[in-house]
């Protein structure tokens, strides 16, 4: 067994706020998939906001502190060495905090001061490793393990894998990526492609895997976000995809909401389904659509999954 395979069997789970709100389907499907695969999640006790995105843009050192508190609880209170964050925003922020604390003395000083004031141990860089849900499944079960466990193959499901921006950018906060064969790529990420293909899916060539969707500007500049999203949806359809697989609640909600908005404001209708990769993998492993929270998605994919033999 590889080190990671052993280490990630039980991880501290940091769902973050989006997974308790609009992204609850991702929360439900991540937990259900983990249970189905025999992996253990211990939710970080009394977790707080990671600082995405508003705090980070007002004062990044406060964001570093907020993220460090989550890692401090995992390490110092729970005795865990790995934090798994399925949300790209949380994952990104914890990685950024780790980088700041390893490289910036001013951040260390601020985090130490606020931690003492708040009455908890200061997080020290390197105490935990932050991973994404994609790393978690890839490094524990892997493609071969998934193939062995498939109950309902994703055969004939054509998928465009959309990773969004925060999973790979900026590159310097992800030192484990771009390390050659077996590692994730920041320019052409492939972990989600690998996992879904192992479950039988047919991945399409999709050139906008990490393209900007307008993200947090969805409220302040909705029209730009809608145009960016509808272009992503149209590119997925033009690639032959029936489904866009997502691994971030912000991306997922943005794609769903602007798919609807594009129809009403631009008169552009797209039919591509938007489904979390954990939902697709969960159904492939034999979980029912409701067990992976398909009913919690904004878009309705029930007929589609039924047609594909996944329900």
């Amino acid at each position: 067994m590889s080190d990671k395979k052993t280490k990630y069997q039980e991880v501290a789970y940091y769902p973050g706020c989006a997974l308790e709100g609009g992204g609850h389907a991702y929360n439900r499907s991540t937990k259900a998939l983990g249970k189905k695969l025999g992996l253990k999640l211990k939710e970080v006790e009394n977790w707080n906001c990671c600082g995405a995105m508003e705090v980070k843009n007002i004062d990044p050192k406060i964001q570093t502190y907020l993220s460090s508190r989550v890692m401090s609880i995992a390490a110092n209170k729970m005795g865990m060495d790995t934090v798994m964050a399925p949300c790209n925003g949380c994952y990104h922020n914890l990685k950024k905090a780790e980088y700041d604390l390893a490289n910036d003395e001013a951040s260390v000083e601020v985090v130490d001061r606020i931690s003492k004031k708040s009455g908890h141990e200061t997080y020290q860089a390197g105490q935990v490793e932050t991973i994404h849900a994609l790393d978690w499944v890839k490094d524990t079960i892997g493609e071969e393990g998934l193939k062995e466990r498939v109950k309902n193959s994703l055969k004939d499901v054509k998928v465009a894998n959309y990773y969004g921006c925060m999973y790979t950018r900026p590159r310097h906060i992800f030192p484990e990526k771009d390390q050659g064969p077996g590692s994730e790529s920041t320019s052409k990420p492939h972990f989600m492609d690998d996992l879904l293909e192992a479950a039988g899916a047919e991945n399409v060539e999709f050139p906008l895997k990490t393209a900007c969707c307008g993200g947090a500007h969805t409220l302040s500049d909705s029209d730009t976000s809608t145009r960016l999203v509808v272009n992503i949806l149209q590119a997925a359809e033009a690639s032959g995809a029936e489904v866009i697989a997502t691994e971030c609640p912000t991306c997922h909600s943005g794609l769903e909401m602007h798919q609807i908005r594009a129809e009403s404001t631009l008169g552009i209708k797209t039919n591509v389904k938007i489904i979390y990769f954990t939902q697709l993998l969960g159904m492939a492993m034999g979980l029912k659509p409701k067990e992976v929270g398909l009913h919690e998605n904004v878009s309705d994919s029930f007929d589609f999954v039924k047609e594909k033999g996944l329900a």
Binding site: P60, C165, P207, L208, G215, H217, D221, R227, L228, A235
Partner: protein
Amino acid sequence: MRTIAEIGQRLDALAAAEPVSASAAEYLLLGEEVLEHWVSARGMEPTQEEKEGFRLLALHRQGADKLPSFNACRETCRELAYHYNLLTGQPDHPEAGQRARMMGLVANHLFYFVSGKMETEELGEFCCSSRSVRETVDAGLS
């Protein structure tokens, strides 16, 4: 140089036509023009240099100078260059039409991102390359 609106109209016209390999050079040129607008708007002279054989990539690097949020379109530019290579290297490939169509959508994305950013410069900053507002305020005070 065409206006941003004219570039958008030309992209729409190309998207409405039959996608063909021959469009690759024009899509690349349209991408360069989009970036020229961005670079000019930042008060710089658009570079004539090339990076990895593409002026497009050199323009992107110039546009992202001291502005990490512009890296939000880095991969989009690279995809545009990649599709140009595919189409010019194998103009008669059976999937050339499909490749040209995808190149058009990639060019569209660059256009939407940059034109959106010219209206709201912070586009992209909240997500992958955040910049501290506090740092800006502090810089103004010092």
